[in-house]
Symmetry: C2
């Protein structure tokens, strides 16, 4: 199980389940609450703390933007229509008002992208700047989608190629480059299409490995990728990595992902989903299928690997957020895979 989920299960063990809530804990990116007979609310909350304290986001407009997007992306993954956003802002007593105004402008701009609005919030004084928020929306018909819901045989898609979030983190934290712009968008329209035709959905905000670990654990299934692991990565970010000492697949490891959706569709709905998507100018990318065996099966540089993705997804947490240790741990896995490949070559040769 993911370290984070294990922690959440421990601290929520004594909490009574709301009979009006359609999902159990961790079963959906946003909470689904039947407010009245005809009104289904989707609501989610997320706070940016470490991303600011570690220097990943410094620009106030970007901080505001990100505080909104992390929440709207969770609404996207349940296919909700956004209705509003509440801001939880913490600043230092001496933070200039212009800095705070830029945070609000960034959050406001992100809301406006989805036809949504900042409707309220609260501000506090603390020892550091942090930004949280709550986004909410409605699901206007009876069809819902959650992380839970896929079956073996369902086809696996991503909403777009991956790697942006990790490339940004690498450029910013390892290379100390300050000119890399990062204003990602939540996949709201795509999420609405996926909700109507798909069987499960999650965003990649904690990285691809975390996303599929969640899907696999929640659904007690596995995944077989039909494309090489490196082909999940956007060509631009793949190129960036070729000039780096880091293997490109590290971009999928997280924990700073992007805001694509990973979702499944039953075979009978696959054609309709692709046709509907194309009407909106969107081309979902087919990457694999759901299998009963609870492992991730994939190919990397010609190697066949079957693997428990939770191990990769947990590495940042098990290394207590230490970036250097985390990257060393990723390299250990990379070396295991390389040895696997060498052994196999020997076997074939022998």
């Amino acid at each position: 199980m993911l370290v984070e989920n294990n922690f959440l299960n421990k601290i929520t063990g004594g909490i009574r389940h709301n009979p009006d809530q359609l999902n159990r804990i961790l079963e959906a990116d946003a909470e689904l609450i039947q407010l009245t007979k005809d009104c289904l609310l989707a609501i989610t909350t997320d706070t940016i703390v470490e991303e600011i304290s570690e220097g990943l986001y410094r620009d106030p407009y970007q901080i505001g933007w990100m505080g909104a997007i992390v929440n709207f992306s969770d609404l996207a993954a349940v296919g909700a229509e956004p209705k509003g956003f509440l801001v939880n802002l913490q600043v230092k007593r001496n933070t200039p008002i212009s800095f705070i105004q830029s945070i609000m402008a960034g959050a406001n701009a992100a809301c406006q992208l989805y036809g949504s609005y900042i409707v309220g919030g609260d501000t506090n004084h603390g020892e550091h700047i942090q930004l949280g928020g709550t986004a909410f929306g409605v699901i206007p018909d009876a069809k819902i989608i959650m992380r839970k819901g896929c079956q073996p045989g369902d086809q696996l898609f991503i909403s777009g190629k991956l790697g942006l979030g990790s490339v940004y983190a690498i450029e910013k934290l390892l290379k100390k480059k300050s000119n890399f712009l990062f204003f990602p968008k939540a996949r709201i329209t795509e999420g609405i299409i996926v909700r109507k035709l798909g069987s499960c959905c999650i965003d990649t905000s904690d990285g691809f490995f975390s996303a599929i670990s969640n899907l696999m654990h929640t659904n007690k299934t596995g995944i077989r990728l039909s494309i090489d692991l490196n082909e999940l990565i956007h060509p631009d970010y793949y190129s960036t990595m070729l000039n780096s000492t880091l293997p490109p697949w590290f971009l999928l490891a997280g924990p700073h992902g992007e805001f694509e959706l990973v979702f499944t569709v039953a075979k009978k709905h696959e054609k309709e989903l692709i046709e509907t998507a194309s009407v909106f100018g969107w081309n979902p990318i087919h990457v694999g299928e759901i299998i009963p065996d609870q492992k991730l099966h994939f190919r990397l540089h010609g190697m066949d690997i079957s693997f428990n993705p939770e191990h990769v997804a947990n590495l940042y947490e098990t290394n207590a957020g230490n970036l250097e240790k985390y990257i060393n741990a990723l390299f250990k896995i990379h070396d295991q895979w390389k040895r696997l490949s060498t052994n196999r070559s020997k076997k074939i040769a022998g």
Copy 2:
């Protein structure tokens, strides 16, 4: 204007108003959003930061309880029926799991008081512990209540006698007493009655002076109290203050209030409100009326005073949260009032 409101106006100046939102900024304790034609959402968010860092709340169960209550009290002040609560928890990396479980248990117990539930949330690692949350509910009929809405001639009530919040802060911060229990309740049922029959409402979470400053500013009216200022204070807390060097009315100054409601009722609805309240075993306390003159008129120890309550409500902020300076500033006002009384006595004598 209240310093806090002035700040909020500055940072929200560029934000577009949601056409589905029934209140403008600062016009209601919770935001009122028309989700669908038949579904009116009330939603509010509040975070406890300084109360924890300054040592006002140390017990994790109490921290959890307070994180929920501050939010449910805002729902109470708009007369919403609670539907759920999202937790934003920040802990240190080394915070014991049992401590976090107690926070969650406290929040859960507070939710259960109102037939509500924790439905989700997020957790983060930071340098200190803090707890925020978002409470939401529905308003099941067309009648709404906000801070805005009273007219001169409307009668002013409080839901119960005041002072608990400040007595607790004094015992805890000044006298360092650790055995004073503080598990206040939000006035949910009372708020629903007030919504149906009242004209405006606010809670006393930031203190009585802050509450009436908000009402006066929002409604461009004043208030004439019909009882002595000291009579607003609960007899138990009044007695406590008689053994103290602090004047009892300091309990009304805030900024750590309790969770009573201050509200108004048009004269024509006064009788029905009192009768409805009595059915629920509740006796709202009549304390004054709304007047056109934008000041607070009150009596204290036989003195007639007319005063702008914003000055008192702002003192904690204008003294940058420094407790000693804050109390000195309150004493200055107390001395002014005493001189006023002495001068008047002289005048009468002369």
